[in-house]
């Protein structure tokens, strides 16, 4: 279950999401790829009203 999602910036561009999970020491850095199922899960999580953290560059 997703805990938090944060935008990652690389050389000035938004390149991936950083995802943490409930009760897990695993994190994922998720590319902006629609065929990636972690990316799909983030979009679903956002559609359920959750908020992505955006700290800028």
């Amino acid at each position: 279950m997703i805990n938090t999602v944060t935008k990652n910036y690389y050389l000035g561009e938004f390149k991936s999401y950083q995802v943490t999970y409930v009760n897990s020491n695993i994190e994922k850095s998720v590319p902006l790829d629609e065929a990636n199922t972690d990316y799909q899960a983030i979009q679903q999580w956002i559609s359920e009203g959750n908020t992505v953290i955006d700290n800028g560059e």
């Binding site: 990652n8 020491n25 994922k28 850095s29 998720v30 790829d33 990636n36 199922t37």
Partner: protein, 372 residues
């Protein structure tokens, strides 16, 4: 019979069966990957499972919605004399004897559509599918096995019975071909093989859909479905899962370990997981940013996620006679063949210095995840 009497006419086609041939006539006939449970890159045991995810054996995931707490492990308890070395074990550690309507527990594998085109689904020539496997549980009774067509939202459920407690039993179920709804010829999740282990009334209250048809939640699971979560003494083992075209089950197709591993690595790959491992060559792009690339052993299904454990000084870069430690690496660029990773929050060095990037902590893990 004299040799010159052996002709096409004297041996009928029906009598030439796979079992009589001295070799596997149809290599890679098993649609299921890692059906013998031999590959477990993530680890061999995970406790306190309460939600969805991939935990131990490769390519198999859990769809778990508030129905007990579980330990999943790769087990050496296997059916005798069948050639299997490993099985998958589900062990209930917190019971839920009264599932809410939407609760469910499914052990499943998702399959890419481009691996299924020869089944000719959605045509008048659609192939039947036969699923065979070995199962053992203390919990006897009826279980549901569902094929789910995600491209066309169609499903087909049948049941099997665990007849004898704590005894390995082989089960074989045939699903007739579906003349409606073709699988997408792509890398998406077209077909799921769903082993139901428990379900709430949302999935059991209708009439079990025992032929291909539009997916209807209430018809997905037998009303007699066992609730494996109803007691902490419950265990369920499975191995030898084979899904193949046709109406009969052939012997399980054992693959060499390296071939099986490579098939799994299309979806998930552990690159480094101890403090003695290498990650790759890197360098300082600027005084506060390092980069590091590594390649995957085979092309992955799609651009993967970085799968990583993070913590204080879990990673380090050896450069110019010094060592700089940092906590994590992040996806900066990549494709199905390699990652370009970076850290720009915890390092300080000299732009242009190159180095070796390595884990520093025995709990550090980094990999690539392109699962379905």
């Amino acid at each position: 019979m004299a040799i010159d009497k052996v002709t096409t006419a004297s041996i009928t086609d029906a009598n030439i069966t796979t079992a009589k041939l001295a070799y596997d006539a149809i290599p890679f006939r098993n649609i299921i990957i890692n059906g013998d449970m031999s590959i477990a890159q993530r680890g061999t045991s995970t406790a306190s499972i309460t939600g969805d995810g991939y935990y131990t054996v490769d390519r198999f995931s859990l769809d778990l919605d508030t129905l007990g707490t579980w330990t999943q492990s790769q087990s050496t308890d296997v059916p005798t004399g069948q050639g299997f070395a490993k099985s998958l074990k589900m062990d209930c550690t917190t019971a839920d004897g009264s599932p809410a309507a939407g609760d469910k527990l499914i052990f499943e594998q998702a399959i890419e559509g481009q691996n299924l085109q020869y089944l000719k689904k959605g045509t008048s020539s659609a192939e039947s599918l036969t699923l065979s496997f070995w199962v053992k549980s203390n919990k006897t009774g009826t279980y549901t096995l569902e094929l789910l067509d995600n491209d066309n939202s169609r499903s087909f459920s049948q049941t099997y019975t665990v007849s004898s407690a704590d005894t390995w039993e082989k089960k074989t179920i045939t699903y007739t071909g579906d003349t409606t709804g073709a699988f997408g010829n792509d890398n998406g999740n077209s077909l799921q093989c769903n082993f139901w282990l428990g379900a709430g009334s949302n999935f059991t209250s209708g009439t079990l859909q025992t032929s291909w048809g539009s997916k209807t939640a209430a018809n997905r699971v037998s009303s007699s479905q066992v609730n494996l979560a109803d007691n902490t003494s419950n265990e369920w083992y499975i191995t030898g899962i084979q899904l193949e075209a046709g109406t009969s089950a052939s012997d399980f197709e054992f693959l060499p370990f390296d071939v099986n591993l490579q098939r799994c690595q299309r979806y998930f790959y552990i690159h480094a997981n101890t403090n003695a491992d290498e990650i790759g060559i890197g360098g300082y792009y600027s005084s506060s940013q390092i980069f590091c690339d590594f390649q995957f052993p085979i092309s992955m299904r799609t651009t993967p996620s970085v799968y990583i454990t993070t913590g204080t000084n879990y990673f380090r870069i050896f450069r110019n006679g010094a060592i700089d430690s940092f906590n994590s690496l992040t996806f900066g660029a990549g494709n199905v063949n390699m990652f370009g990773l970076y850290n720009n929050t915890e390092v300080s060095g000299t732009a242009g210095h190159a180095g070796f990037v390595r884990p520093e902590n025995s709990s550090a893990v980094i990999g690539a995840d392109a699962e379905l």
